[in-house]
Symmetry: D2
Subunit: 176 residues, 4 copies
């Protein structure tokens, strides 16, 4: 149940390799940082400005395993998740960090054509090793290039023809 909508959609590049860890129950958690960039012309100087926004993304569960396996530093990726802010403390001072959580309700889509992470290598990424005991059923699953969050579509789905619209009789009062 929910009262509200909390949705984040990002397309960006990884600032570093993903970091995957495992919880005591065997569930995976994978962290990445994602850069999205804007550039615009300064109104006064006319100079081209650029600004990069960095996002903290955390994957949970099966999607975390695949993120850790296929993404690499530099990978371009589509992310759909939700905003979540958590509290932490340093030197007795409370701080807050906002993350984009991607779990069963989210989506991840690699955008590097090759089907790899677009990164440096394809070795299973380092970091904390998966505990061997728990959650053996997840290891068994041969994870291919995934989707997540995609139900099987309905029965038929033919392409949709129709003549291109004629705009010849349009006047100035139209679509833009």
């Amino acid at each position: 149940m929910a009262r509200g909508v909390n949705k984040v959609i990002l397309i960006g590049n990884l600032g570093g390799d993903p970091e995957t860890r495992y919880m005591p129950n065997g569930n995976a958690v994978c962290n990445i940082t994602l850069a999205t960039s804007d550039s615009w012309k300064d109104r006064n100087t006319g100079q081209l400005q650029e600004r990069t926004e960095w996002h903290r993304v955390v994957f949970f569960g099966k999607i975390a395993e695949i993120a850790g396996q296929y993404l690499r530093k530099g990978s371009k990726v589509y992310i759909e998740g939700r905003l979540q802010t958590r509290e932490w403390e340093k030197d007795g001072i409370k701080r807050y960090t906002t993350e984009i959580v991607v779990d069963i309700g989210g989506q991840m889509q690699m955008l590097d054509g090759r089907g790899d992470g677009g990164g440096y290598d394809q070795q299973p990424q380092g970091g904390q090793q998966r505990p061997q005991q728990p959650a053996p059923q997840q290891q068994a699953q041969p994870v291919q290039q995934p989707d997540y969050q995609r139900a099987a579509p309905a029965a038929q789905i033919p392409p949709e023809p129709a003549p291109a619209q004629s705009y010849d009789n349009f006047d100035d009062d139209i679509p833009f």
Copy 2:
């Protein structure tokens, strides 16, 4: 698995009561039409123009049951689904209809404060009756105001403090 993203987000009002039917296997299918409206000033005449777009939305599965149960003509609703075009034939002529499919990968959120459909009555909606034999487990589920597609969130969730940003030292070259 998916190679691509196919997402539709709508907020609008139902043009009529939902129509729910059941497939041979007991699964529910619910159809609604949804109106979204735009208005704008004609560039030439300066007159206020209005245009309503009508969308065909089809729910599948458990979310179809809840849509049929809670939505009514006039209800305001948030919909998240995917585009799908299907072929059909009339008088030997092929036609195509594009619908917004909402199933396990989608979301529905009622936006009428009361928690009912915002519509005329609250009687279980008519139309085809659910077959009594199949899928009895779904009848057992006491469906409250639903969400769908929402995993249990992470552990803590504190409000987030921070002073409002000072914009006093801003010049003209900013956010807009």
Copy 3:
């Protein structure tokens, strides 16, 4: 120009009245906090859990004026913006706050049927007064229930007929 996508979509309720201020150049800035809620059943205890996520939303420009004018504590609203993290300092310690920025590239949509803020009163909201000198042209604009970000649509817009799909010949291997 952009290299990436940075989009946030929220539907929630305001935790308090909006706070509007004006920058030296006359541009408005409006801050709100928005709550989105999730509830779910604890897997172990079966108890219903609830968690509220609080979001800091900041409007800029014309949309800030309308947000400040129409939204109130408790208002339900649809927001489309982008994530942005800014640095600030307290007691010599750097902190970071993530906000959802809504400006010309974003959207706001009130979801309280009445067309008012759904809140307590309809008085022009207090807080910092608008400076009288700059940007007088914006005061002149009679702001109705707004949209933003909506181009005039194309010429015609008929409702769309088509027979409902027959699912009678479906087997178990379908849409969900």
Copy 4:
């Protein structure tokens, strides 16, 4: 103004080269077809199924010129637009076609790393020639790899640190 939300987000590949035409007033219109694919395992046979959905996308205005210039058959692209259904007639029979309209309120983002269309060549695309008389100002604009719909961001935007969350004390009742 709008009463409702009508948003489509697609990531897919072009089925053919874009077709650009110009309206009498000099405004560009560009049509593409976009494929999004799903694959899933048949529940009964266990076989991998695939289904491609084809979308008709129409760009208007400046974004149409850039789409026509940079996109090619096979290009991967992110699209944000709105649903619109238009009526047309053939043999005295009314038909309806649903398109995704991308104009000033939408967005386009090329996802082929190279910065070209990812397609076959980079020659200015054929089709109807732009009329030389009207809208000369648009020809003057040196269109680079665009964004659209992106306002200049706020003043500062530093990266956001914080220690990675410790999940060691988590039990089974968490994020997924």
